[in-house]
Symmetry: C2
Subunit: 160 residues, 2 copies
């Protein structure tokens, strides 16, 4: 598996990954009805660097890296990771996260922060913990899950 | 003191308030060197409702209200408050915050969240606590203060 910068030729593959994740509304605080143009505009936003995980020509996952805040908060980065539905359990998210932390460190970021990890997203919580992220905050009922209703979300943080 | 929706005629007064606050870099995670056009574009962003506190024709403070996240996070709002340097200690921020909470509640928001309250901003921490906000998270060294260096920031939250 290699991780490389995403380019416009990856748009269709990226949409096939992020479309279902956004549409499910279960893990990301994003408008569920985003269409392809809107979703790609978000994922390739001017504030973001966008990467893909590729294996034998197939895109298995994608992530973005950005500063979490401007000004005095600019040394803390934020990232978002999505894995293709048919590629879960193969370490794609873990590999992308390790790449993201290395990239961020090289670029001078001192820490990485996840602002809203939905508590029902147990796979993600477990992965971030295993990668050294600590829960530094808990937002009560801050996420409206399509089936679970209002659930807590975690703020997770890791120095780089 | 009345609180009303801001309009373009308030731009100069608002810039005279937010310019020094942004430029100080002490309390908001915003690019310190923002010019007037950039700062007003931020403060009147499409995602925000912008208000002013006025007394006898003078603008004493300004605030914005917005959804803190999209999608499943859209029921939690965020707000930013700035008071004119010559109007501190007169309850302007408190009055604006109470107005913001009432506005947010009427609009259906279920909670208000501050994402990054710089720990050195003791006046703000005290005010939010007195208004019922709880510290639900602490971000280690997440803010680079121009004189204090890397300091912690709080995530504060209040149901409405």
């Amino acid at each position: 598996m290699i991780i490389r910068t995403a380019n416009p030729q990856d748009h269709a593959a990226i949409w096939s990954i992020i479309g279902p994740v956004i549409g499910s509304g279960e893990t990301y605080a994003l408008e569920r009805r985003m269409n392809e143009t809107e979703a790609l505009a978000y994922w390739f936003g001017a504030d973001k660097q966008t990467f893909v995980a590729e294996h034998e020509g197939e895109i298995l996952g994608t992530y973005y890296l950005r500063a979490n805040q401007a000004g005095g908060g600019g040394h803390v980065c934020n990232a978002g990771f999505m894995t293709a539905a048919n590629a879960t359990g193969r370490g794609v998210a873990r590999t992308m996260a390790q790449h993201a932390m290395a990239q961020a460190k090289v670029q001078g970021f001192l820490a990485m922060q996840f602002n809203l990890v939905v508590i029902t997203n147990e796979r993600a919580v477990r992965l971030w913990r295993s990668l050294g992220f600590e829960t530094v905050g808990r937002l009560p009922r801050a996420f409206d899950h399509p089936t679970a209703g209002l659930v807590d979300a975690l703020v997770m943080f890791r120095a780089l």
